[in-house]
């Protein structure tokens, strides 16, 4: 029997470590080209439709920013979680709950208007996402429950709760029985940045601000140090006087709040009402964004734009080439694998071991 082992390299190349995300993108493009060829499409045309076309027009760049906003907001929060060794896989659910909590005012109290409505909605979105993330945090800190499972399962609870709301109690009374809430009034809509040229809203500014603040905290402050120490070694963290239990809550609450903010920003800025489905999987794609950005908030901004491009490209390719929009998911999956593989192979090399039986060679 042959076995494949990963052997740690005694030293890994600094150059390859730096360009690892680019290598991963190149591999993804290559595999994508092969996939399109297998589908009988021209790989060049397909890759052009995917990655170039969306960047050729102004309105399309606006769409890119709209898609990148939730990805960046969520991934920035996830970077705190992942660096501190808290595996929050449920950002999609926190996104949904943030959207629901933030929509309480415009849906249930449409009569309330004024400049205060939007800020209150945003704060409620933050709170909704944070509250939903507190559940897996509490279960982990109190009972040692695996947060990967509990946070992931809560995604489906949140999605079904939203589905029930928009089909039931929150359904628009004047909406001809369509499963959606009433449209938000003007004061509840996040304004557009440059309404002359496209739909991009101020959510993108929030995303950039969040990335800058978290970058500063992680790289320059004692809190960021605490996050990294507890992620690397809980025991050393305890020796340093840090509490791993409190970090569980901190990481989940901050990332949940940012996911919740992403949720209400998406609903208020891009959609304008609640529907049964308000996300094409931003909460999951943001995991890829976080790792492609190397868990560095500034890298995450770039990675968020790239992944947003894959959503737009998917739509473009669907229209111009007639391929399924699921191809975008395939791209994202391949990209995640490539990122992880590139990082792993830079640190380890593959060794194939063929165990030889006890072999006595003839005496010389």
């Amino acid at each position: 029997m042959m076995r494949v082992e990963l052997v740690r390299r005694s030293q890994h190349s600094a150059l390859f470590s730096a360009v690892s995300p680019l290598i991963a993108l190149a591999i993804t493009a290559l595999i994508g080209a092969i996939m399109f060829a297998a589908l009988g499409k021209s790989p060049v045309a397909a890759l052009h439709a995917y990655f170039i076309e969306p960047l050729t027009e102004i309105w399309s760049i606006h769409e890119l920013l709209i898609k990148a906003t939730p990805l960046i907001l969520i991934a920035v929060g996830l970077s705190i979680c992942f660096l501190s060794n808290n595996w929050n896989i449920g950002a999609e659910g926190q996104f949904v709950m943030g959207a629901i909590a933030g929509s309480v005012l415009p849906v249930l109290y449409p009569g309330l208007t004024g400049p205060l409505v939007l800020p209150v909605m945003l704060v409620m979105g933050l709170a909704g996402g944070a509250a939903w993330a507190t559940i897996p945090a509490f279960l982990k800190a109190r009972f040692g429950t695996n947060e990967i499972l509990s946070s992931l399962m809560l995604v489906y609870v949140a999605q079904l709760f939203l589905d029930w709301l928009v089909r039931g109690p929150w359904r628009n009374p004047e909406g001809f029985n369509f499963p959606e809430t009433r449209s938000f009034h003007a004061d509840a809509i996040l304004p557009e940045m440059f309404s002359a040229s496209g739909r991009a809203h101020y959510g993108f500014v929030f995303a950039i601000l969040a990335a800058l603040v978290v970058w500063f905290v992680l790289s320059r402050t004692l809190k960021g140090y605490e996050i990294r120490v507890l992620g690397e070694s809980p025991r050393a963290g305890r020796f340093a006087g840090f509490s791993a239990r409190r970090m569980v809550f901190f990481a989940f609450i901050v990332s949940g709040a940012l996911a919740g903010l992403a949720g209400i920003v998406e609903v208020s800025g891009a959609i304008g009402q609640l529907r049964p489905t308000i996300s094409p999987g931003y909460g999951f794609t943001a995991i890829i964004v976080a790792f492609l950005g190397r868990l560095n908030p500034l890298g995450i901004v770039a990675a968020g734009l790239i992944l947003a491009l894959s959503y737009l490209g998917g739509e473009a390719a669907q229209i111009s080439l007639g391929v399924s929009d699921k191809v975008a998911n395939v791209f994202q999956g391949v990209l995640l694998f490539s990122v992880l593989a590139a990082d792993t192979l830079i640190r380890y090399r593959v060794r194939i071991v063929r165990p030889a039986p006890a072999r006595l060679e003839p005496a010389q």
Partner: protein
């Protein structure tokens, strides 16, 4: 195997190693190593940590494959690709770190390493028979978790003997034993030797090697520096071969000892400290009582796993006490304070595990300086008030100071802790704490796995701290170390501590008896 036995009287040695070389990156862990071992011989493999002993043994046991060189078994070249190959040849290994499942019985543990399908009763009978033959008394139906370290080692030896090896490799077998347990091990080894088995004995304890071993091979920096007859050498000459230079012995001077004896200022006072086991295989602490005076080095001896790490964590504040007065640091009750609260009172701590407890491997040295000092030296390393922004320049200056004071060898300005050798990292960790000029200093296994030069430096620093007026509490398994530097020594056994004894008058036998727990069953009876 049967045909091999008939050849055993033939001239070629049982095992010969010829030009064996193994590199890891640029480091030559073994460089053209050669030695041989004949039947009925106890052969010592001597060397400091990092000299290449483990690499050599791993190649002999098939866990690593050599880059160059030959291994000859009974005169014939062999390729040992994995441990099962080594076992088939007749090479058995008793590891330093035991691999027993605590929740299985002795017989079940042994059965795991045998061919599947051997009935448990057969295993138990066989284990009992071997145990009687070699003086390794053992109850095959006892739970492994309930065994003492010495008993666990016996299980490992029996497990090894069941494979009927002709060569037995023992890796630092006495490092976890009391002097009395070691004595019994030596008797077993003599019996095995009398039967014509070859024993490769890896150790850095020179007295043992001088007493037990017929020949010795000394390794330094991966190369063989000498083949010698250890009985014809002195401990000092063996040490010089291992280290490459004479190592100065660090000793407590009688005058300092006298001065410490007069000191009455308690800087650390522990009374009636009880602690429940922290996990299924952790030791409970019962009624710990001790007082460390200013200017004194107080030693705690004991066999590994008798509550040392639990005691350390109770003192460092990683585990809190119910009663604030259970731990008093420099006159202030600290039982309810965490590590940073205790550090602010002037205490400093250095745990046993360097990577993952005292330091974070994947972080640069300046970050590791901050690990234990971000609270006690907040004004030096943090700015911006509540935002607590790190001051990297101040950390860099402290790093420079520590590196200079402790002679830490590192590559680059501020490399990751992982790149430092064990000894250098330990010097950095202790230097980080000394740099604060603590009032009381608690260290656990300060020189464990550290080369002789660094160990001497670390011991000297502990003495310097005491001479400067601090109290030092040294938890160590190394009796020689404690006898060299301590003023008083107490023994911890099964979570209970003995009365402290004067380090200058106490004998190893007294300490050994206490380390063995002198009838621990009785204590269990009382506790239950």
């Amino acid at each position: 195997m049967k045909t091999d036995v008939s050849q055993s009287a033939a001239p070629p040695p049982l095992l010969a190693v010829d030009g064996l070389t193994k590199s890891f990156g640029t480091l030559k862990a073994n460089d053209a190593v050669d030695f041989d071992i004949v039947e009925g011989e106890i052969h010592a493999l001597l060397g400091e940590n990092g000299a290449g002993k483990s690499t050599l043994v791993k190649m002999l046991f098939g866990s690593l494959s050599p880059d160059a060189g030959r291994i000859l078994w009974r005169g014939r070249p062999v390729k040992i690709a994995e441990p099962s190959t080594a076992r088939k040849l007749g090479i058995g290994m008793v590891f330093q770190h035991f691999s027993l499942f605590d929740s299985l019985t002795v017989a079940e543990n042994i059965a795991l390493s045998l061919e599947a399908g051997t009935p448990l009763s057969t295993v138990a009978d066989e284990a009992r028979r071997l145990g009687e033959a070699y003086g390794l008394t053992l109850n095959p139906h006892a739970m492994a978790g309930d065994l003492s370290v010495g008993e666990r080692q016996r299980v490992e030896i029996i497990r090894c003997l069941l494979q009927e090896p002709s060569l037995i490799i023992l890796d630092e077998p006495t490092s976890v034993l009391t002097p009395q347990e070691a004595e019994r091990l030596f008797e077993t080894l003599e019996t095995l030797k009398g039967e014509g088995k070859a024993i490769l004995y890896i150790s850095h304890r020179l007295e043992e090697v001088k007493r037990m071993c017929d020949r010795a091979t000394v390794l330094r920096h991966g190369q063989v520096v000498a083949h010698c007859d250890p009985r014809a050498e002195t401990a000092a000459s063996l040490a010089a071969m291992m280290v490459g230079a004479e190592v100065e012995a660090v000793r407590r001077s009688p005058a300092d000892h006298e001065a410490a004896g007069r000191s009455r200022t308690a800087v650390l006072c522990v009374s009636a400290l009880d602690q429940k086991p922290l996990g299924p295989f952790s030791t409970a602490l019962r009624g710990i009582q001790l007082e460390v005076h200013a200017g004194e080095v107080f030693g705690i001896a004991g066999v590994a796993g008798n509550g040392q790490s639990e005691l350390f964590e109770a003192l460092s504040g990683e585990q809190l006490q119910h009663d604030p007065d259970a731990v008093i640091i420099d006159g202030t009750p600290a039982g309810r304070l965490g590590p940073n609260g205790r550090r602010r009172l002037g205490a400093a701590f250095a745990p046993e595990e360097r990577f993952g407890h005292a330091a974070v491997a994947a972080m640069p040295l300046t970050d590791n300086i901050l690990l234990s000092r971000h609270a006690s030296d907040a004004s030096a390393y943090l700015s911006g008030g509540r935002f607590a922004v790190l001051r990297h320049s101040a950390l860099g200056r402290t790093l420079g100071r520590v590196v200079k004071a402790m002679d830490v060898r590192k590559s680059g300005e501020n490399p990751d802790a992982a790149t430092l050798s064990g000894g250098n990292l330990q010097k950095l960790i202790l230097g980080r704490e000394f740099d604060r000029q603590p009032v009381v200093f608690v260290v656990n296994q300060p020189t464990w796995g550290v080369d002789a030069g660094a160990a001497a430096r670390i011991r000297q620093t502990l003495l310097d701290a005491a001479n400067a007026g601090a109290g030092a509490l040294v938890i160590s398994q190394d009796l020689d170390e404690l006898l060299e530097i301590c003023d008083r020594i107490a023994v911890i056994a099964d979570g209970e501590m003995s009365e402290p004894l004067d380090a200058r008058t106490v004998t190893r036998e007294q300490l050994g008896l206490l380390m063995g727990g002198a009838e621990p069953e009785k204590h269990h009876g009382v506790a239950a």
